[in-house]
Amino acid sequence: MRALLFKEWIKLRPWLALLVVGHLTFAVWFFLSMRQEFRVEHAEIIFHQASRIGRLFYDDLRYVPLVTGALLGVAQFLPEVSRGRLRLAMHLPVPLGALMAGHLALGLAALLVLLAFDLGALAVTVGVFFPAPFVASAVATALPWMLAGVAAYLGAALVLLEPVRWRQALNLVVVGGVIWLCHLSNAYGAYDLALPGLVLLTVLIAPAALLAAARFRDGAVS
């Protein structure tokens, strides 16, 4: 199992480097854009827009986790299925569940580190310009976006591991549905009461991906 994880690490390393650079760049840009906002507009107006009108100054972060999760998932699973490499690993004396859990755990760990960095950058940037209640609100508002990133990662596995084309399309619709639910509202704090249900839906994608992997191993045709 350690060798498999090492193989995954080697495979993902360049992609992770790219993603780290991308997220760092975004964090710097986000800070500078927020500072620019405060330079050109009166601070009291920005406070009013943020707290009463509901303008999300961090809205540019919305789709960053989604793109990150999808990219990481595709980078990890597309080479495995397009060249049939995963089938070799599936012949090793490792149960399929453990094998796929290892793959997903590694990818998820990397993704969660990136998403935690995003949340940290969001908290620090908002905290520099606004008092603590704004930070709490921003982080709570961004949580469903982070969840969409996790759904995109697990969804990439679910779609790519499925061996039958029309089922791939169906899986894509399912993942798209979960991601859509994570982006239903533009209001801050809108998901405060709805997050547990969304977490449950997102978590369900993982065992569904295991089913796709089992079908991939078995060479399912329908």
């Binding site: 009291e44 704004f134 169906l170 998901y191 009461l193 709805a194 569904a208 089992a214």
Partner: protein
């Protein structure tokens, strides 16, 4: 085990998404939107009149006595509400109950107070940081100060928004003023109208830890604190400040008990408003104040109206069932087709909430048809009862949603 778990996860995902998406698509394709019924008390006809919508462009204007009107005739019965039209039609001034009202008198005396369920403090997310405007800015128009405040466990803290740092002198000054007025920290509620687009600023109302209500205003950097006589055992849930041209009626106060009061100035006296049948968590409350017959209306499915004297004593009430979208043919078909509707929406406020709406006994038709369809497909696939049983359970509970999920998912025992 892996396959069974994966199958169950896939079926659950598909079932949940179907239960959210299919009813939405059905509604978009077939449902008839019905606008709310607007109920008024005509100070001219001395009866309740209403505008009702029955789908498409079918609006009707009628009275509780059965009279029907065209739109113009309807508006003429509400001269305060439609005073600009009345002026255009050359019908002003108008005499009502021996009083003569011209356009200016009508405009100045009309006030509308509205408390929507989605506005109530505990029904919406909030960033508990507020601006305390200078009520006497010494210039035309209000402007936001360069600081905001928040209530902590032991004081009111002002933060300079330019540098995002505590303004200690201002914090000390306002905290001391509140303490000297008898304010007990922490605050339970902060209420004010956070905008500069209003004719004057009434400051904010603070409910302290003991339930006492304080009125805090700012003049320059000086605090003006008034401990109001509002009873501390009222159990205040929400205060809505409505700063409009008539400062003597300042806003609405909602108690935990569901009672609603009009806040009058300058003595902070409360006027109890009619609330029988009012559910603040589900209904919007509307109070139209005119000098003849102030009228309160609330409710959606059943619209309640209470007309009052100028002193807010109820004199007449009326309740009318609004046209119901759920009784249309399309809605009945949906009720039979879908056993329930799963929604993640913000119907009752900015918060998104999961809601399950059961469609009752008619849904058994859809479930029976879904089970029959599943049995047919299972037979065609040559599935044993043991193979089909998990699917049967899913379909029996979730109807057409489960049927779609089970048929779209890989067959559980196939190889």
């Amino acid at each position: 085990m892996t396959r069974a778990l994966g199958w169950l996860a896939m079926v659950l995902l598909l079932t949940v998404l179907s239960a959210i998406v299919l009813p939405r698509l059905y509604e978009m394709a077939f449902a008839r939107d019905i606008a709310p019924t607007y109920l008024f008390f005509s100070p001219v006809a001395k009866t309740f009149i209403f505008r009702e919508h029955r789908g498409d462009h079918d609006f009707s204007y009628a009275s509780a006595d059965g009279e029907t009107y065209d739109r113009r005739g309807f508006e003429q019965l509400l001269p305060f509400m439609y005073h600009r039209n009345m002026e255009l039609w050359g019908l002003l001034p108008v005499e009502i109950d021996g009083q003569l009202f011209d356009r200016d008198a009508m405009r100045d005396s009309l006030q509308v107070f509205e408390l929507k369920a989605r506005e109530i403090t505990d029904r919406r997310p909030d960033i508990p940081v507020y601006a305390l405007l200078d009520a006497a800015p010494g210039r035309a128009g209000l402007s936001f100060p360069e600081d905001v405040f928040r209530m902590t466990r032991s004081r009111i803290e002002f933060i300079d928004v330019d540098v995002n740092r505590l303004d200690e002198p201002l914090t000390e000054r306002f905290t001391r003023a509140l303490r000297e007025a008898g304010f007990v920290f922490p605050a339970r509620l902060v209420a004010g109208r956070q905008t500069i687009l209003k004719p004057f600023d009434a400051g904010v109302f603070l409910v302290d830890a003991d339930g006492s209500v304080f009125h805090l205003r700012r003049e320059g950097d000086a605090p003006r604190v008034t401990r109001t006589p509002i009873p501390r055992n009222l159990g205040i849930r929400h205060i809505k400040i409505v700063e409009n041209a008539r400062p003597d009626l300042l806003g609405l106060i909602l108690a935990d008990s569901g009672r609603l009061f009009l806040l009058t100035m300058p003595d902070y006296q409360l006027v109890a408003l009619p609330t029988q049948g009012y559910d603040p968590d589900r209904m919007d409350y509307r109070l139209v104040v005119n000098p003849v017959n102030p009228t309160a209306t609330f409710g959606h499915a059943i619209v309640h109206g209470v007309a009052m004297t100028p002193d807010f004593e109820p004199i007449a009430d009326y309740a009318r069932a609004a046209p119901d979208a759920t009784t249309t043919r399309q809605a009945r078909i949906a009720g039979a087709l879908f056993p329930f509707v799963l929604a993640l929406d913000d119907e009752a406020g900015p918060y998104l909430r999961w809601r399950i709406l059961w469609n009752g006994w008619p849904a058994l038709i859809g479930i029976a048809l879904s089970l029959a369809a599943f049995a047919l497909v299972s037979r065609l696939r040559g599935a044993s009862l043991r193979d089909a049983l998990p699917g049967v359970v899913i379909v029996a509970v979730t109807g057409v949603f489960g049927l779609i999920a089970v048929l779209a998912s890989p067959w559980l025992r196939s190889r």
